[in-house]
Symmetry: C2
Subunit: 331 residues, 2 copies
């Protein structure tokens, strides 16, 4: 009995089963990642490097832009071609904006009965800091499972969402005429994040003006020499009515064209390698953070901390005094 | 001429002049912080420990809640008492929500002509990561200048805003009936951040229901034993119409009651000390981050990085291999 339990929960066994196509094992592994259990390093090591032939598409945009419907329709098109799809919907909900994930997810339930589609929602638990990393790990699990496509939808706004979009090979930014003062869409961060613009609910008033403005901005961005570009790509702006499946096929075509452009330039591999470097740096810094916290519990570092907390020393001077006590690369 | 210029821009001279009440010097020091110049450590060391008798109030809430008007009216009351007020308005604007800082600031211009009030807006430049720290440094400058009160207003939503609120001694969360599904206000993060709730535009439909719900939630939070509390404080919920100055005096009374409660329990000093510890940890980690980035350019750490980027090693295994190469606390 105890052995049966351990077989069911042993991370190594879960990975093995997941790789054989066991969806329940996949769900349990994702739960490990979400709960940040001690098994996460072991799990991530075991799935490393799998799913490299698959493709990750991010769909982002402000609340109410119809991102879930876009994801839903993209999924239908991909399924019609026989491709399998993993979907992770992330809600980095702030205490103020909240999230509409529940309602959106209900619409996705048509796919929930399809064994070729795996859907998982992730919400913020406590700090947002770890959400981008956890999402990256869930994407890797969905890829390792063998999904041909992984779609990442973020509900919400802000830096976390942009961090999550960096995990995608192609990022689709979805806007609607109501998205607010169109000038806001020009902000540099958004331009840097977007590979394709979708103007959804394109039958509404204001859609042509938003399309025109986005096209103009995209063209300016393309023409400017300020940002280093590894591919020759002007962000296309698509008119979509996802609810009625209008323009979704064209969206998929643009995503594929972006993928082909990346691959032709060798940029897909280069970007994925840069992502690995980023992951390594993040993990290393997290480990150092823990070590700093431990270091501050005793010894010379602790003595400096005590001076700061007592108000006798400012933090900047303390750090200057502490850094020589710390050595990197003893080798 | 060159000497005159250097006298005008030398950070040590700027600090000296600022401490003598020179507002232009204060503005220039804040610009140093915003631009993250190399002089920041020197400046922050020089102002360390000043302004400890002053008090920092944060005002936060969703866009459209009337935070600027609340800050404006609080300022008027404090000025009527002869107190000086420093105001920092932070806009951690996401690419999607944008910010309404400009329009809000125009309303504040009545105070801009008052030498007893210093107002500064800060917006995101690039990464949100450093915004909370920069805001903390600006608060210290406003305190060192000798302001009796510093008011911190954050426009926008999300984790950055909550991080900024941790810099305040008392945090006022401002909501309006339109703030969205009231259930969202119950989110744990918001409850943890708030010391006082303001229901602004309290003449609008929905205000009584929002008040009732907030009171109920505040009481549940107060009664629950789940969160460690250093003071005996049930979050008050105030009905305010800031535009008409209704309820603002009561708000100030509640802020003062919160301050007195903190002081009586010794919690004000304890919290400020904890904040110093946090600052130290953040600075130390930033220094380590730079060192890690440098370390990855050569030696044994670089060799591991290359293995990861080549896809031959997963990041988790790499970190395990790298950590023994790094030593903290050589002393």
């Amino acid at each position: 009995m105890a052995e049966a339990t351990s077989r069911r929960t042993d991370p190594a066994v879960l990975v093995e089963r997941m790789l054989q196509g066991d969806r329940l094992a996949l769900a349990r592994l994702i739960t490990h990642v979400e709960n940040r259990t001690a098994a996460v390093p072991q799990i991530m090591k075991a799935v490393h490097g799998r799913g490299g032939a698959s493709y990750v598409v991010g769909v982002t945009g402000p609340p109410g832009a119809g991102k879930s419907t876009v994801v839903d329709r993209l999924t239908a098109h991909l399924r019609a071609e026989g491709a399998t799809v993993g979907i992770v919907a992330v809600d980095p909900s702030s205490p103020f904006t909240g999230g509409a994930v529940l309602g959106d997810r209900i619409r996705m339930q048509a796919h929930a009965l399809d064994a070729g589609v795996f859907i998982r929602s992730m919400a913020t638990r406590g700090s947002l800091g770890g959400l981008a990393r956890a999402t990256g790990e869930v994407i890797k699990l969905l890829l390792a499972f063998g999904h041909d496509w992984v779609l990442v939808e973020t509900v919400g706004v802000g830096q976390t969402e942009l961090d999550i979009m960096k995990l995608a090979d192609t990022t689709v930014v979805t806007l609607v005429p109501e998205s607010g003062d169109a000038i806001q869409t020009m902000k540099a961060g958004l331009m840097e994040a977007a590979d394709v613009f979708v103007v959804n609910k394109a039958d509404r008033a204001g859609a042509p003006a938003l399309m025109a403005e986005l096209k103009f901005t995209a063209h300016l961005h393309y023409a400017s020499a300020t940002s280093a570009k590894d591919i020759d790509w002007e962000i296309p702006v698509l008119s979509v009515q996802a609810q009625g499946d209008v323009g979704v096929r064209e969206l998929l075509t643009e995503v594929r064209r972006h993928r082909a452009t990346l691959e032709r330039a060798g940029a897909l591999q280069a970007r994925r390698r840069a992502r690995l470097r980023g992951e390594l740096e993040t993990l290393l810094l997290e480990a150092l953070r823990e070590r700093v916290a431990r270091g501050l519990t005793g010894g010379a570092l602790r003595a400096k901390l005590d001076e700061v907390v007592a108000g006798d020393l400012d933090p900047y001077s303390a750090v200057e005094a502490m850094l020589p006590m710390i050595s990197l690369d003893r080798a």
